[in-house]
């Protein structure tokens, strides 16, 4: 782990970059816009304006959000003392790209076509390198454990023809790789953040599994090791009513997230509410670091804020574009801090 002093510069620079984060009032103005053109005009007053010039149509706003995120990740990666902190955030996009290429391979064998258009530049591994590795079936140089995961996933597909099983091992691989990166970085806050994220993910998955009425053996594959709460403890919740979950996990930090839940009777709306609450909980893990000018956790906090900002903008633009209930969209906004 690089010495704490090295983070002073990075944190100071991030504090300066934080000024450019989209404020709640701007989000509100986007949401109150008459149409998508008006909303994009408001977005043009923010840092996103740099990417708006490349916009092909008003419905193409996802490219703008993606371009801004890529730019921020690239910039932060240039000055951060430990790139693993940025890699942590880009890792889910790598796994998404791997899934796209694996599924393309499956589709191609069944007479379909490749979907390279679904690849995102947000990942750590350049898309071209990933395509090359997948096409040549030479996975040796793939990082983040993908060199063993991808062949294992392909073998599993050949044996079972079950894409869900393939997804499960990739998801497990993703969280294992995230935890490994956090451990390697030697930053306590990063490890706590990853463990909190795994807990949040497990709770969210548990709710989804409960709603689908899945049995415990089937549910186990959807939960991930490495959080503060053990898989066994979480699986035992499945047999209990959701109302008793907050009490059962009150000892853990993620239990705090449940304390904000108003109504647990309707699982469909609870699911939507929990997505937001868990994102806010993950942000709260890094809250304490904001008073320390040398804390590496500030880098994670900034990047998470940026992710949430992107999510909030997407929610607002989708809502305006589809002319849906603005109050509902507002309720989905994450607390970017």
């Amino acid at each position: 782990m690089p010495p704490a002093e090295q983070y002073g510069y990075a944190v100071a620079r991030l504090r300066a970059m934080s000024v450019n984060l989209v404020e709640d009032s701007v989000l509100q103005r986007i949401l109150e816009s008459e149409d998508l053109e008006g909303a994009l005009k408001v977005l043009g007053e923010t840092v996103y304006s740099a990417w708006l010039v490349d916009l092909k149509g008003s419905g193409d706003f996802d490219r703008v959000i993606e371009a801004e995120l890529v730019s921020v990740y690239d910039e932060v990666q240039r000055f951060v003392p430990d790139v693993r902190l940025v890699q942590l955030f880009r890792l889910p996009y790598d796994f998404h790209n791997v899934k796209v290429l694996l599924k393309s391979l499956v589709l191609l064998r069944e007479g379909g076509e490749r979907r390279f258009d679904l690849l995102t530049p947000l990942g750590n591994i350049p898309s071209d390198d990933l395509i090359m590795a997948m096409e040549s079936e030479d996975f040796r140089l793939l990082p983040f454990g993908l060199h063993t995961l991808v062949p294992a996933a392909l073998t599993l597909w050949e044996q079972t023809r079950d894409i869900l099983e393939v997804e499960k091992i990739l998801d497990t691989g993703l969280f294992a790789a995230m935890k490994k990166l956090a451990v390697e970085s030697g930053i306590g806050g990063a490890l706590a953040w990853v463990r909190g994220k795994i807990d949040g993910e497990n709770i969210r998955n548990l709710l989804r599994i409960k709603r689908m009425d899945m049995d415990v053996s089937a549910a186990a594959g959807f939960l991930h090791e490495g959080g503060f709460l053990s898989k066994e403890r979480l699986l035992s919740l499945l047999s209990e009513p959701v109302e008793s979950w907050p009490r059962a996990i009150a000892f853990a930090d993620v239990g705090r997230a449940f304390s904000d839940v108003q109504d647990v009777t309707d699982l469909n709306s609870l699911l939507v509410e929990m997505e937001k609450i868990i994102d806010d909980y993950v942000a709260s893990i890094l809250e304490k670091a904001k008073y320390n000018a040398f804390a590496p956790e500030n880098i994670l906090a900034f990047l998470w804020k940026k992710e949430l900002e992107a999510k909030n903008i997407r929610i607002a633009l989708v809502s305006v574009g589809n002319n849906t209930d603005r109050t509902l969209a507002k309720g989905l906004f994450r607390h970017a801090g």
Partner: protein
């Protein structure tokens, strides 16, 4: 009314009278069929309207759930999750005769689970939306069958109406007119024969 181009003889008269009886009977049957078809059509149209309204409301709910998932995820991730479907639907088509209209009856059998994606990059709203869509598919197919039946019945009603009109305003009046013409012709022939015979009788008597 246009008279048929026929020879005015008794043979033709008798043939035309038979055809008129058949045409009148056919007209009555077709008229009854048309009435029954209209009644069935209206009933089905009302049912289909109610079903369509229900399904449109349900579809709105489905799209709302889907939009929730769409708003909170990178669209590429959402599409990636749905690249390979785990659900299968088999559709069987049968036909049922409703007053000589062959209306389709679809039977859909769904298998597998629509949830064929990892949970890490997807949202619960997507599960909800897909579940609702999967539940809606048999209803949508039922609506498709009903609306197809209505459309086929409307065509049949139109066809029957044309036939009824053709019989009522063209064929039957034509037959009646022709029968009247032949009857008049035959009567005239009879009168002419009678007067000829009377004349001959008179000539024979004067000699």
């Amino acid at each position: 009314m246009a008279r048929l181009n026929v020879n005015p003889n008794r043979m033709e008269l008798s043939r035309l009278k038979k055809r008129l009886v058949v045409a009148k009977r056919g007209h009555k049957l077709l008229k009854d069929k048309q009435d029954a078809l209209i009644k069935a059509f209206l009933e089905r149209a009302r049912e289909a309207k109610v079903l369509r309204e229900e399904l449109e409301d349900e579809l709105k709910g489905c799209y709302k759930s889907f939009l929730l998932a769409r708003a909170q995820t990178l669209p590429a991730m959402l599409e990636q999750a749905l690249m390979i479907s785990g659900a299968k639907a088999e559709l069987q088509v049968g036909y049922k005769n409703v007053m000589s209209v062959m209306v389709p009856e679809y039977e859909v059998e769904q298998g597998g689970s629509p949830m064929n994606y990892g949970l890490a990059a997807t949202l619960g709203s997507l599960d909800v939306a897909l579940e609702r869509f999967a539940r809606l598919i048999p209803q949508l197919i039922l609506l498709a069958a009903r609306e197809k039946a209505i459309s086929l019945m409307a065509l049949e009603i139109e066809k029957t109406r044309r036939r009824v009109n053709a019989l009522e305003h063209v064929l039957i009046p034509g037959f009646i007119e022709t029968i009247r013409y032949i009857t008049m012709k035959l009567d005239e022939q009879e009168r002419s024969t009678l007067s000829r015979l009377m004349k001959i009788k008179e000539i024979v008597r004067s000699h």
